[in-house]
């Protein structure tokens, strides 16, 4: 499931799913009680776990129940606010989501997505509304999120979106997994460390 370390992400495409609402927090994306596992392997089944069920535990009409083949998630403002749990993007990714388009994202969430190679593109309220409407139609068109050109193609309609420059570089350059990149500069890390007085008991 996990992508190779050096894989570039230039575009993601597939059926869309719209989850409407501002400030959808990570506790909704994955309730904490499902985080008692030492790997991320099973997280996919917990995506929006409570939101997808009614009081008698049956599946309700949540979009994730209706579009279970989706790979592009469309959201409104401040999506992924709250906890830093990477379980949230991991759950979405393992459920099948490969890219997210929204009005805005919480920072830690967007960073976590980037580290997994999942683009988080932003667009105006009107653009998002337009995409959501199309996605919600029965037999809705496939979406293509193009990282290079910063566009979303909805059927034959092309809409502009924005991707943070650093995220764009990371995805296109295949350097969204920063461990090996930063490790290659360990000598410089040591120099920085040597200059920090608190690592040397303040020179005493």
């Amino acid at each position: 499931m996990s992508k190779m370390q050096t894989q570039t992400v230039t575009r993601v495409a597939g059926p869309g799913v719209a989850v409407r609402g501002n400030d959808i927090d990570t506790d909704q994306v994955i309730p904490a009680r499902f985080m008692k596992e030492v790997t991320f392997d099973n997280m996919g089944q917990y995506a929006f776990f409570d939101a997808r069920r009614d009081d008698s535990d049956a599946f309700n009409d949540h979009p994730f129940n209706q579009h279970d083949d989706a790979s592009i998630l469309v959201v409104n403002q401040n999506f992924g606010c709250g906890s830093s749990r990477e379980h949230a993007p991991q759950a979405l990714m393992r459920w099948g989501i490969e890219g997210i388009v929204g009005e805005s994202f919480a920072e830690i969430f967007a960073g976590n997505c980037q580290a997994l190679g999942i683009p988080t593109a932003t667009a105006s309220h009107d653009t998002i509304e337009r995409i959501m409407e199309r996605v919600e139609q029965s037999e809705g068109p496939e979406l293509t999120l193009d990282v290079e050109s910063e566009t979303v193609m909805v059927g034959d309609e092309v809409l502009d979106v924005r991707i943070k420059p650093s995220q764009k570089e990371a995805l296109l350059g295949g350097i969204w997994d920063t461990t090996s990149l930063m490790k290659s500069y360990l000598d410089e890390v040591q120099v920085t460390a040597d200059n920090l007085p608190y690592l040397h008991n303040f020179g005493a």
Binding site: E86, I175, V189
Partner: protein
């Protein structure tokens, strides 16, 4: 761009280099880990056959799922036992110091760091937990990170990050009686919004903040993330140094004097440039409560619950929140019946929180209402021990509170402490998200520890000031 702020000073000293993405490779001075978000990162290290680069800069504790009632091993819950063993193995194999239960140093990671003196001014501090912003109270930069970034830190002692803007938040005046640090931050989040801080680091200052002790400053910085700001800090001063002096991991003797000199040097300049400034009048605040399902949906205790019909743009979200909370537009929060009172979490389970709560119970002779299940969960073993030395535990017990071991407990309901069904909880924690406290239908009203005590005693949400002036 900001200039001459503590944020700039600390950032510059920790910047290793610019990465091809335009982000900065930032050195991490202190890395804290806990049992829930670290095992996957150690797994990733193993997959790549990597070792921990600076094992003496990572410290571990257990807090999120640890039981706070029965600590006998193996734990009653198998998954909890597995996660605990995983942490024990990982820290042992990688030579990482582990403050384990019973050591006297275990507790919520954001309570433990400062208490041990690990958290110091001028550091960069990260942890796989969004409330790492707490450590900013000491004039450090504390950031919550995800598990892949934990892997980065373990392998390189660095994170890749973009520099943010700095917003100076000035709180003037002095706080009226019954108003606490928690009320300041709840007000800030309500006014600036839960996403108002996205792209910003918050610098808190002004008389009302400077007059607070370290515990209060931590409550404020703790909830920066609830306002969308990834980090928040207060410039270090005498209060900071007094708190740190003599603690286990701070320098002693001559090195201490050197340290204080250094810590003073990194403060924001008087004429520093900020990207934005806002001001609040601390003397005009009243005790606050939330009525909704995010920390920004809050009001002063004497204000009415808002009417969705009058909320531009937020109408649907407001309706939804009120439906979940079972509240009516225009009603007062005072008198809303509670089922559970939770005094705990990394926002408000430090010694001064417990002292104030106990003082209130003692002075009013109040006892927990029969209809309420009430628990005190100290933030750390250190806090617990201190409270017991001061006999605060006896005060709580006599009043009808359960007295527990240290951990996150009902803040996020990963252990056995959870809301049941539609229970409503008066909580000193930081998140009132739907399902946060363990029950998908549970309801949370955020407030200060003193307000939790008032609610526990009366069985309903109460203006704590009515208990204080003897009305």
């Amino acid at each position: 761009m900001s200039k001459g702020t503590l944020y700039d000073n600390v950032w510059d000293r920790h910047a290793v280099r610019e990465l091809p993405t335009g982000e900065t490779q930032l050195f991490v001075g202190l890395h804290l880990i806990h049992e829930v978000t670290s095992p996957q990162a150690f797994g990733m290290l193993e997959e790549r056959d990597l070792r921990v680069a600076f094992p003496d800069r990572t410290f571990a504790t257990a807090d999120h799922i640890i039981p706070t009632a029965d600590l006998a091993r193996p734990f009653a819950d198998d998954q909890t036992e597995t996660m605990m063993q995983e942490l024990e193995t990982n820290t042992r194999e990688h030579d990482i110091t582990f403050f384990d239960p019973g050591s006297g140093a275990q507790g919520i990671v954001h309570v433990v760091g400062p208490e041990q003196g690990l958290t110091q001014p001028g550091m960069t501090i990260v942890c796989g937990d969004s409330h790492t912003s707490t450590h900013g109270a000491f004039g450090a930069l504390g950031f919550g990170i995800g598990t892949s970034q934990i892997r980065d830190v373990l392998a390189t002692q660095c994170v890749a990050m973009s520099k943010q803007q700095v917003r100076r938040i000035e709180v003037t005046g002095s706080l009226p009686e019954g108003v606490y640090a928690k009320d300041i931050i709840l007000k800030i989040i309500a006014d600036l919004g839960v996403d108002g801080g996205v792209g910003y680091v918050y610098e808190y200052g002004g008389e009302a903040v400077e007059a607070l002790g370290m515990d209060g400053r931590m409550s404020i910085c703790n909830m920066s993330i609830e306002g969308g700001a990834r980090a928040g800090y207060v410039n270090p001063d005498e209060t900071t140094f007094d708190y740190l002096k003599g603690r286990r991991y701070v320098p002693q003797g001559e090195a201490w004097d050197e340290a204080v000199r250094y810590w003073r040097s990194i403060r924001s300049d008087d004429d520093a440039d900020y990207d934005d400034r806002v001001r609040f009048d601390g003397s005009a605040l009243e005790p606050r409560v939330t009525w909704g399902t995010n920390p920004g949906q809050g009001i002063g205790i004497t204000e009415p619950v808002p009417d969705p019909a009058r909320m531009n743009g937020a109408r649907e979200a407001t309706e939804q929140a009120l439906r979940h909370m079972d509240l009516r537009p225009g009603q007062s929060m005072q008198g809303v019946p509670i089922d559970v009172a939770f005094l705990g979490s990394c926002t408000n389970a430090r010694i001064s929180d417990l002292r104030e709560a106990a003082r209130l119970l003692q002075e009013t002779g109040g006892a927990v209402d029969d209809s309420v299940r009430a628990l005190v969960v100290p933030g750390s073993e250190g806090v617990k021990q201190q409270a017991e030395e001061e006999r605060l535990d006896a005060v709580f017990r006599r009043a009808g509170f359960e007295w527990r071991g240290a951990g996150c407990s009902m803040c996020l309901g990963m252990n056995e402490d959870q809301l049941e069904g539609r229970e409503l909880c008066a909580s000193s924690s930081n998140r009132n998200f739907v399902g946060r406290q363990g029950s998908p239908d549970g309801r949370t009203v955020l407030m200060s520890p003193a307000m939790v005590v008032a609610a526990a005693v009366n069985g309903e949400v109460t203006d704590v000031r009515t208990m204080m002036d003897g009305d």
